[in-house]
Symmetry: C2
Subunit: 401 residues, 2 copies
Amino acid sequence: MRAGPSQEEIRRHNLGALLRHVHLGGPTSRAELTSRMGLNRSTIMALTADLTAAGLVREELPRETGRAGRPSLVVRPESARVYVFALDVGVDRLVAARVGLGGTILDRREAVRRRGPFSLEEIVGPLAGFARQMHRKTRPDTVCVGVAAAFSGGVGRADGVIRFGPNMHSVDVPLAEEMARKLALGLPVTVGNDANLAALAEHTRGVGVGCRDLIYLHGDVGIGGGVIVNGQLLGGHAGFGGEVGHMIVNPKGRLCGCGSLGCLEAEAGERAVLEAAGRSGTHQLGRDAVRDVVDAADRGDIVAQAALSRVGDWLGLGVANLVNVFNPEMVIFGGMLREVYLGSAAQVRSRLAVDALPPSRDGLRLRTSALGDDATLVGAAELAFAQVLADPLEVLARAGS
Amino acid sequence: MRAGPSQEEIRRHNLGALLRHVHLGGPTSRAELTSRMGLNRSTIMALTADLTAAGLVREELPRETGRAGRPSLVVRPESARVYVFALDVGVDRLVAARVGLGGTILDRREAVRRRGPFSLEEIVGPLAGFARQMHRKTRPDTVCVGVAAAFSGGVGRADGVIRFGPNMHSVDVPLAEEMARKLALGLPVTVGNDANLAALAEHTRGVGVGCRDLIYLHGDVGIGGGVIVNGQLLGGHAGFGGEVGHMIVNPKGRLCGCGSLGCLEAEAGERAVLEAAGRSGTHQLGRDAVRDVVDAADRGDIVAQAALSRVGDWLGLGVANLVNVFNPEMVIFGGMLREVYLGSAAQVRSRLAVDALPPSRDGLRLRTSALGDDATLVGAAELAFAQVLADPLEVLARAGS
């Protein structure tokens, strides 16, 4: 149990808080920062001066104020100068983006991935190549302050080693270490679970802004989850928290990739949808295939409707369980679960009405992802920015050296 | 997003932190406080002087140091002078205790409750009577700084109103308000869910000390839960988080009191144990009845063994689900689930081995409650002390006035 912070710690905290303000909220006037942060004007001025000197923000006159008197200067993040690399290792694609402070995607590269077993090189090679291409195009005065990757599987928080994932036949793959070596930017790489990062993204920049307790459900080949508890991402003891896809909802049910029977993923994942709709094997896989089922149901296809009803029933039961356990304010459906939810909302809601405790579901909002397919990438960018927001000057000094 | 604290806020924070140290850790030397809190000696001296003047701690020479030189003064909580009332509204009993700063139970009263529907008066009347009896026995210089109650059901965080509970046929019972009125101590009453408070107790003073992520499962008539996430109690949006007993594990299973089929509570609660053992109806209920089943199984009774095996299987599945969702460091079995777990540990562990993801259960410890039947009461006391630990001088000034 440590006690209160020193003057230097307070300054560092305040610098981070101010930078986070403009990073998440966009250009903000000094007057607004003063009132929102509860600090006096001279402190805000001093903090802004420090951040400006470090090249993290700049101050300028607002375009128009519409008010009389001297306008308050606007503090804006140096989006073009300070950036991170955000990487997304999805089941069907690899994405790399250069994201400026403030969250602007400045540049991006994407490659389609064939599903199936992969080697570490097949991931790291293309992503490092993309990053190098984008890095070459930057001006000399830009500075990269972090790198983070989203991975669709289990990643240890301490070491960025992959412990499990779809189509991953080897275990203990050192993704973070190998990525950092290959990028050779002199920066460590942080790796997070894709659904966790998407949850973080929706919480900070998406449909969940302002919600302190939310659950994000991500449908890919499997079902992943990210849970925000009291404003913080649920990590658990070693970073594997939120694997809601492996909550067993039907113990006599379908075999899951993890070896158990009746996991939420086995009953409401992509394969369950396509098989229930009689579209496995001969048909295509992936999001488009799921969307086809939902479209067919919309057009009155009885088999597709029955499939969505069945899958929606299990999805609803899973959500009800999570609502009882977490009492969240919002549940967000992302990835292919967005389609499934839109095609089975009535079923999901009716399960919730039966199986969630009334006080636990009171006021609950069910929503679809606002950031769509970019949620994981946006989350990876936020993870990459975490260090500079925690200690702006220290990170910048290191990056510039 | 607020910025760093003011000098006054830091002082308040430090006073609370120091008081929490001696409240949880017992008498501590100034030298130890200096090193543990990361503050310098003169700050510790000043803080201790403030807390001593307020009558919250006192300083004394240690009995023996075994070392040469001037011994460091020991700071100890004023356990006999500063106290709270902790109340426990269990299914089978009502308990009231006067608990001194530092966690010492100074006095307690207990009454057996008959199961069945209850009126608010049947709870509030006896508890207020107990509190008055204990209050009359205190010396004039003592001061009560808080009151909190544990209730075996759902309680809204904001208002202390009971929304659901076993044997509760009315809803929206204003327990906190009515209790405060009847006690007439001029203090508000905080009410929390019993399993949540037991989790808090095991986390701060029991088997879970030092664990930042743990799940406490409490068996009573039903099954309740309390979850500690990154050192904080999971409350959820409105305080109903942790209702793990209503996670559905067997959707074609037994009818639960909540109206759903196959909740963990329905499959592994008291009634499930007794019915599986052929002991419902004619036999006694409660903890003793469950213990009889476990004892019988120990002595080789095949029916009792089969019952525990069946119940342990569902309990294991429920725990596996929670392990996948939370990746906790520890799961604690309390109340009658302590007995059930001890009688079915092999079954629970084998379910975990099959149904929990290997990285999520890696390093997991399964434990029984260290505080036993007093866990809820100890948790209620901690809830009652929360205010004075957050702002020692303010609370004391109010209580003394």
